[in-house]
Structures are given as C-alpha cells and as structure tokens.
C-alpha cells in the first residue's frame, strides 16, 4: 500500500512544483499581451480589425486567468459549467442591451434627426 501512496505523493509534489513555473510563465505572458493591446490601439488599421484584435487578446488573458490561476483546468468540470452559466448570461445581456440601444431609434432626442424629433413631438 505504501508504494502507491508514495507515488501519489511524489506526483502531487511534482504537480505543485510545476504549477509554480506555470504561474510565473503565464504572468509573463499576460504582461506581454497587455503590452500588445497597448500597441494595437495605435496601429493604422481599420476600426473593426483593431476591435476584433482587442477582443481576442483580452479573451485570451481572461481564459488564462480562469483556467490556470483560478484552477479550473484542474477542478471538476461543474465549476467551469457554473461559472460559464453566469458568463453566458452576462454576455447575452450585454449583447442584447447593445443591440437594443445601438439602433437609431434609441438615440437621445438631442442627437436624433430633426425630422424624427418633429414626428415624435406630433
């Protein structure tokens, strides 16, 4: 019985040791990605390309933090599911609100076309 226990202990210890270096490397990677994000906003590309690049870079940072620093990679899948339920609901709400208020009819009256203001007043 002692041999498997020792093996488990050794492999557990190795995992904890390797985690230290994984965390350090990820932190460095996150710092580099933050630098890249800063450079991105000053690049002379089309707006949608820059926005897409920023969204991808911040998503990568987000995923690294939740899966490594927050241990989701090593925890039971239920933790991931639980958190992603909240994340999907939040993302869906954000998407719906931005779509709803993004249309021209949602513009404040002071910004709307004069004809539309007259029509509303009538």
């Amino acid at each position: 019985m002692s041999a498997p226990a020792t093996t488990t202990h050794a492999s557990g210890h190795e995992l904890e040791q390797s985690k230290f270096w994984i965390f350090v490397q990820i932190a460095m990677l996150l710092a580099v990605i933050t630098g890249l994000e800063l450079v991105t906003v000053y690049l002379p590309f089309m707006k949608w390309i820059l926005i897409s690049a920023l969204v991808i870079l911040s998503t990568v940072k987000f995923m690294f933090v939740i899966f490594y620093f927050m241990h989701l990679r090593w925890d039971k899948a239920f933790c991931t599911i639980l958190f992603f339920i909240g994340l999907v609901l939040a993302g869906g709400t954000m998407w719906a609100l931005l779509k709803l208020f993004g249309v021209a009819d949602s513009k404040p009256l002071s910004m709307a076309e004069p004809a539309a203001v007259v029509r509303l007043a009538a």
């Binding site: 994000e37 920023l54 987000f62 609100l97």
Partner: protein, 206 residues
Amino acid sequence: MSSTAAAGTIDHHHDSTTVTGIPNKKLLMWAFLASDCMFFGCLISTHLIYRLHPPPGTPNARDVFSIELTSFSTFILLMSSLMMALAVNSIQKGNLKSLRWSLLTTIFFGCIFLGCQVYEFRNFVYEKHLTITNSILGTTFFTLTGTHGLHVLIGVIWLTGMLIYSFTGRLTEKDAIDVESMGLYWHFVDIVWIVIFTAVYLLEYI
C-alpha cells in the same frame, strides 16, 4: 474540507464528502462569482451604451483618460494575481512562510492599484472637472470603476485578515480551501479589470 487522498497528501481539487465532489466553500464562491459576472456585465453595458450615443457636451474620454497610469494599474493587478496564485500554491504545500510573503505582496500590489485609482479619480475631478454628476460619461465611469475599486478594497481587507490569521497558528494545509476561495475572488477582480481595461479605456483610443 478537502479529503485525504493518500497518506501525506491532500487532494485540494476534489472532495469525496460532498455530492458534487467539489468542496462546498469553493462551490459557493463559484456561484457568487457567476452572479457577480452579471452585475459587472450590466455596469459595463450601461457604460458602453452611453458611449455609443454621447449627449452633446460630453467631454472627450481620450482627453480625460491617462492610458499610461491605467496600463501600470493593469500590470500591477496582473502581478498581484500571480502572487495570489503562488499563495494558494504555498498553503497547499503547507508552506506558511511562503504563504505570508505571497499574501503580503498581493496586499501591497492591491494597495498600489487602489492608490492609482484614488489618484486617477482625484485627477479627473479636480484637474479634468469630470464628476459623477456633471456628465453621463462621469456617471457611468465612476460607477463602474468605483464598484470595481470597492471589490479590490474588500479583497485587500480579506487578504489582510487572512495574513493576520496565519500568525495564530490555526491555518494549516487542511484549510487551503479558505485561501483558495479568497484567491478565486481576487482573480475574479483581476478578470473584471481585464474587461474594463479593454472596453472602457482602450476602445476610446481607436
């Protein structure tokens, strides 16, 4: 609490005494964080919606924001996340000395972040004349970043409490779940800032 998987080692990721196999404290924290996601999602949406249709007279955010200061704050918060991860790693190995140093560094970085935010708010109010009541930009910006700052402050207080508790001699490897739950909260504060940094600050510079 976590169960003992084998002699001399504790499985910190699974708990055979619960139905889900997940320590209850960890499950509670994940449920809370999922709900907090929706809270911050609404605050960020509100800010973005008002930035989509800025009323006349709204100050130009680019003239108000300081990207250098915010980038520095972001870097500091990322490094605090690293130290928090190392603190959890330390308590899981039963290394109290390393835990204390990691917690102390995390608190230090958290205080620097809060200091930067206080400096930024003061600068906005007194130099740039942007207050929470004089424009929509000010209202949504201060509400969002202020709420995040409050989360950081609560995290710093929690970390300080844990650091003090570690000196009582009652914090052992078996209590790693308490430090891990606190770590989850701290990392969440970091991921919210990752989103705020992009959605609130960087998008203004495009």
